[in-house]
């Protein structure tokens, strides 16, 4: 490769990297309070600031971190917490499947590096750019730039939360902010009948199973909720086929 072509390519990559980071800026203020809570509520659940930070460093997954913290506070058995975390993060598998063709020509090490930065916000942005026709090489650097911006914001907001969280009086019941975050994430998902039924059944079963040992009612609720949603979907399809013929 000639020198000038290489320079041009590097310039393009740096531009894409910055483009990704810049596009993240309007999204970051919405993420920061989430990170603050991941730091602050960890303390109310009896974890220390190091543990709060370790969760952000190793998991980089807000909803799963808050769920784990909530369950630690309720003294749930760790296998149930682990299972909950894996269920909540299952969506990353979906993202991974969508991203894989975009990065298919990258080396394995690069793909694994990009995989470690898979998040809701980063995924949404890169998919939007691909639809607009951004080239594969640019997409990679764009994705890296937006992922780095998310990573830094997440670590700093967790750190700030775990430092400030120690000062917040228990009477403020900050732990209640965790279900509030989940409600904010849940409400936009309830766009059709199968998802509504799923959520309603999952909630009802989880509440009914509250007395079960080691918070098993939670897992039971998730499983029965999904089953109910699938049944509703199936019924709707059969009905639609009936009216079509």
């Amino acid at each position: 490769m000639t020198k000038s072509l290489e320079d041009g390519l590097n310039k393009n990559r740096r531009a894409s990297l910055l483009h990704g980071a810049r596009d993240m800026v309007p999204i970051l203020p919405g993420m920061a309070p989430f990170g603050l809570l991941a730091g602050a509520t960890a303390l109310t659940a009896g974890l220390d600031a190091w543990q709060a930070q370790a969760l952000s460093l190793v998991w980089l997954a807000g909803a799963a971190q808050l769920a784990a913290i909530d369950l630690v506070a309720q003294e749930t058995a760790w296998p149930v917490i682990l299972l909950t975390v894996l269920v909540i993060n299952l969506r990353f598998l979906m993202y991974s499947a969508v991203l894989a063709p975009m990065f298919a020509r990258s080396r394995l090490a690069a793909r694994l590096g990009l995989a470690s930065l898979v998040t809701d916000q980063g995924f949404a942005l890169v998919v939007a750019r691909e639809r607009e026709g951004m080239t594969t090489d640019s997409l990679r650097w764009y994705y890296l730039g937006s992922g780095a911006a998310i990573w830094v914001t997440w670590q700093l907001s967790t750190l700030l939360g775990s430092q400030v969280g120690a000062l917040i009086p228990a009477a403020w019941q900050l732990d209640f902010s965790v279900p509030l975050v989940f409600l904010a994430l849940l409400v936009p998902l309830l766009t059709d009948r199968p998802s509504l039924v799923t959520a309603a059944v999952a909630a009802a079963v989880a509440v009914a199973g509250r007395g079960l040992p080691s918070n098993l009612g939670l897992m039971l609720g998730v499983a029965v909720g999904i089953a109910a949603g699938l049944v509703v979907e199936q019924l709707r399809e059969t009905r639609d086929e009936g009216t079509a013929s």
Binding site: W59, S116, A184, T198
Partner: protein, 103 residues
């Protein structure tokens, strides 16, 4: 939770989460089957609802039993209207604090 249990949870949770993230970006390739796709679409709604409902209905250490459900309803309405996580948290917490102050 003991320190040792915490680190086990952190490590296994991290490995599992990375396994999801790398599932298709890693060495293996393939397609997601339609049934798996359907199940995955419903997972977030199911998991979030099953997490929220018991914590909202569990009474806090102090305060009347109705306070958290009422604050949660206010938060749902604000979430529907604003689609903002921050506005939802603020609405729910303000209702909680006002109700705690009144009772």
């Amino acid at each position: 939770m003991s320190t040792q249990t915490f680190w086990i949870l952190l490590l296994l949770g991290g490995l599992g989460t990375f396994a999801w993230r790398a599932s298709f970006l890693g060495p293996a390739h393939g397609e997601v089957s339609p049934l798996v796709r359907r199940v995955l679409r419903l997972v977030p709604a199911s998991a979030l609802a099953a997490l929220v409902a018991p914590s909202v209905l569990t009474t806090a250490a102090d305060g009347a039993a109705w306070i958290r459900p009422v604050a949660a309803v206010a938060a749902i309405l604000v979430a529907r209207w604003s689609r903002s996580i921050l506005a939802t948290i603020v609405a729910g917490m303000v209702v909680l604090w006002v109700a705690l102050g009144l009772t």
